[in-house]
């Protein structure tokens, strides 16, 4: 199923790529207006991402004597969280609903995908099943929670999430293996394990950070970006945005606000479900704390705000910074100060405060401003092109 979508998506990439480059001298803004621009730019960024994160940063780290390089597995993890926060942002950034219970969809998808893998060890079907479970769960939770707004909505979603967490940890441990974590996941690769997930995607030795898992995650990411892009550019998506701006006016126009909000909630849960299933395929392990605890929901909020709620792919940058600080910076030892270790939370907090304070629109918003500034100044085509490249690969 995913493969087919990819094919169409690939086509879209090729089609939109050519006119964009053919028009050459036309203003950057026109390119950016195009619906598919974000998909093309994402594809380009995904192609270079692991190389920059693992190899280039690794070399830089060796030169300056700090272990700041990424590791194989980190790029896929960033993409998986990226998919989730793209969906989360449809709810938070566009519709203006702050959910504190999205771990429920992430975790339940992860667990159901993990359990399903014991029946049919197919990663693609695991994603389908996980997403389906998350969707079915989002319906009743959304139905109840959306009747309240603001902090009450947040607390209601939080309550449902925590209920699932305590169930998975205690009474449900016959199913989830409780606190010992669930690790009997039977999907090691695509095509019945013929293509193992940790095998390299290419035979080229310098591209060994491009694993099959990364390819799988990257394709899923492109699909997610494409779908997200279609949603926000559709009339339906416009209503989401209008809801975020002024709910009463939408109601006065005669639209059923409740239904649109519920739909936004369910759609964001679908993204969380895809992410949850991918996560369990990637990690081959899931634990209630990772999957369902409220801190995971909070992490989604932080990633989204950090990256920027204004654009579709903004939160992905937040996911990147979050995971990079949590998993790489935490292992860095500074020459004079010593190991950063537990201080990584301070580092993340400092980054968060700085970003929110200096760039209220998040990392992506800041990047956009920078691009706009550069294009305004140079005005020419050359300047526009480099700026686009900068924007795409900033992080």
């Amino acid at each position: 199923m995913t493969d087919r979508e990819v094919a169409t998506d690939g086509g879209a990439v090729a089609e939109s790529g050519e006119p964009a480059s053919a028009s050459g001298g036309s203003a950057l803004s026109r390119l950016r207006e195009r619906d598919d621009f974000v998909v093309v730019a994402s594809a380009a960024a995904l192609i270079v991402f692991p190389f920059l994160l693992v190899d280039v940063l690794g070399i830089v780290g060796d030169v300056i004597g700090l272990s700041i390089g990424g590791y194989t597995g980190l790029p896929s993890l960033v993409l998986i969280y990226g998919i989730i926060v793209i969906g989360f942002n449809l709810l938070l950034g566009y519709t203006g609903l702050l959910s504190f219970g999205h771990a429920a969809f992430f975790g339940s998808a992860a667990y159901s995908a993990a359990l399903f893998s014991q029946v049919v060890p197919s990663p693609l079907l695991m994603v389908v099943v996980g997403t389906l479970v998350a969707t079915l769960l989002a319906w009743p939770i959304g139905f109840v929670s959306i009747r309240r707004s603001g902090v009450y909505f947040a607390v209601l979603t939080l309550t449902f999430g925590q209920a699932l967490y305590f169930y998975a940890l205690g009474p449900g441990s016959w199913l989830t293996n409780g606190d010992n974590g669930f690790s009997n996941i039977e999907a090691d690769g695509l095509f019945l394990g013929a293509l193992p997930f940790d095998a390299p995607l290419t035979p080229l030795p310098f591209l060994d950070s491009y694993t099959v898992m990364y390819g799988f995650a990257a394709v899923s990411m492109l699909v997610a970006v494409w779908v997200g892009n279609r949603i926000i550019n559709s009339p339906y998506g416009l209503i989401f945005e209008a809801l975020g701006e002024n709910e009463e006016r939408v109601e006065f126009v005669g639209l059923n606000v409740f239904r649109y909000k519920l739909m936004a909630f369910v759609i964001s849960a679908v993204f969380a479900g895809v992410g949850g299933a991918l996560f369990v395929i990637h990690e081959q392990y899931i634990h209630p704390t990772t999957g369902l605890y409220w801190i995971q929901s909070g992490d989604f909020v932080i990633m989204t705000v950090l990256g920027g709620t204004g654009g579709l792919v903004g939160p992905v940058f937040g996911a990147f910074v979050f995971e990079y600080v949590a998993n790489v910076v935490s292992g860095v030892s500074l020459p004079a100060i010593g190991s950063i270790g537990s201080l990584w939370r301070f580092v993340l907090g400092a980054v968060f405060v700085t970003i929110v304070w200096v760039f209220p629109r998040g990392i992506y918003g800041a990047g956009e401003d920078l691009v706009a500034m550069l294009t305004d100044r140079s005005g020419g085509e050359g300047g526009g092109d480099t700026a686009a490249a900068d924007g795409g690969e900033r992080e």
Partner: protein, 449 residues
């Protein structure tokens, strides 16, 4: 902490497991001495072979979260082990397998990570050590959930895991793996060690009531306490009540304890949980009506509840107060380095790092299956607890367990809060390979089958 740049990454090694790769590595291995250039005999597996003149150990401990204080002491133990392995000192001078000149001719380097007492963070951190830093061995854990999460990962990646502080039966029970070894005892052995001492101290035919932290360790702990109190002392359980992990106010649970019927209250809490529940139980006056038992002591809890531990029984892995030469030399080395006495978490860390290094020396290679075989069934008596065996069937050390009792406030000093009541011999503890937790253990593959 700077490490040498190995141009060849782990993934490359996996790919070039052919003759060419091995031949090329033979040159590197030749000069490392070992035993006749043994390294070239084996194919690439996990992070084997070790490139360059350094071998990397990954110290993955909780530096944040509720067990961070323990993690800091583990890290002290690990760094002391690294120092001794490279330059001699401490047990390295007395263990005949170790030279004090690195391991198999290679200098020991290390990378550190924060598990945050969270299983997934622990796995991410271990993944980084394995994939980026080419760690040949990962060690750490201060909660059974993180230890189990890491050892599962290590089994998949074919990288050795040396479990540090993990007391749940499941670590070497249903969740056991071939690539992990545990020096610490478990909840089952706590029950075996504690029950006879308490039966003698408090009498027989008593009623006991349990509270337990509702997660992996707490569940197995209360289960084992129930089993042995019932079997050994003929006691009967009134009820066993789960409390959520991380509870700060236990008063509602404590007020439910029936004061008239209960003779002994067992608080199956650890670390911060116990530091909360025990003083609250004392404050509620429960110690007037019944005896209180805390099955597993740690320093954090003893310090935090120092005013409440007078006469309270529990078990501990080890104590710096032991008088054998190994314990004393470790305590001395630790004290001269850090100016404080080691907790048992530090001894576990130190022992596990040295134990792995010694196994590599015996196996004359870092090739994981051979190192594992060098540890399986290994008998030793140089880790401060008398004779021990690293059992082959479940990778659980068969060893003595200390029964300790809290000292009254007047007798306490900063480093001495507990007294050792009994060092229960391993002959009175443990269980066969087909009983207890071991019955559910299937270790899995060596990786060279």
């Amino acid at each position: 902490m700077a490490r040498d740049t190995t141009a060849l990454s782990r993934r490359d090694v996996l790919k070039t497991s052919g003759a060419a790769g091995v031949a090329g590595l033979a040159g590197l291995a030749g000069c490392t001495g070992g035993g006749g250039g043994g390294d070239s005999e084996y194919p690439a597996l996990g992070n084997y072979p070790v490139e360059g003149d350094e071998v990397v150990f990954g110290f993955n401990v909780p530096q944040s979260g509720s067990y961070s204080q323990e993690g800091a002491d583990e890290l002290r133990g690990y760094n002391l082990a690294k120092e001794h392995l490279n330059n001699g000192g401490g047990w390295v001078d007395s263990w005949e397998d170790l030279s004090g000149d690195g391991v198999l001719g290679k200098t020991v380097a290390s990378v550190e990570g924060d598990t945050a007492t969270d299983p997934d963070t622990a796995r991410q951190s271990a993944t980084r050590m394995i994939n980026r830093d080419n760690a040949i061995m990962i060690t750490g854990g201060s909660s059974s959930a993180t230890a189990i999460a890491m050892q599962k990962l290590c089994q998949e990646e074919k990288v050795q895991f040396m479990a540090c502080l993990t007391h749940s039966n499941d670590t070497t029970g249903p969740e056991c793996v071939r690539y992990s070894f545990r020096e610490m005892f478990n909840a089952y052995m706590t029950g075996q060690a504690l029950a006879p001492v308490l039966a003698e101290e408090y009498g027989e035919d008593l009623n006991f009531y349990q509270l337990y932290a509702d997660y992996s360790w707490g569940q197995t702990q209360q289960d084992s306490m129930n089993q042995f109190f019932t079997e050994v002392g003929g006691w009967s359980q009134i009820e066993s009540v789960p409390t959520p992990l991380g509870t700060s106010d236990y008063s509602s649970y404590l007020s439910d304890v029936p004061r008239d019927e209960t003779d002994v209250l067992v608080l199956n809490h650890y670390g911060l949980d116990a530091a909360n529940s025990l003083p609250q139980a004392i404050e509620a006056g429960l110690d007037q009506d019944m005896e209180i038992v805390v099955p597993l002591y740690n320093r954090l809890m003893a310090e935090a509840a120092a005013g409440s531990i007078d006469g309270i029984f529990g078990t501990a892995d080890w104590s710096w107060q032991l008088e054998d030469s190994a314990s004393q030399s470790f305590t001395e080395a630790f004290r001269s380095e850090y100016d404080k006495v080691p907790s048992y978490a530090a001894r576990l860390a130190y022992t596990q790092a040295l134990q792995y290094a010694a196994a590599c020396e015996r196996a004359e290679t870092f090739y994981p299956p051979e190192v594992i075989r060098a540890l399986e069934g290994y008998e030793y008596d140089n880790a401060g607890l008398g004779a021990e065996t690293m059992r082959a069937c479940d990778h659980q050390a068969q060893r003595d367990v200390l029964v300790v009792r809290g000292l009254p406030s007047s007798d306490q000093t900063e480093s001495r809060l507990l007294e050792v009541v009994n060092q229960t011999s391993r002959d009175q503890l443990g269980y066969g390979c087909n009983e207890g937790p071991a019955a559910e253990c299937e270790l899995g593959e060596y990786g060279d089958e």
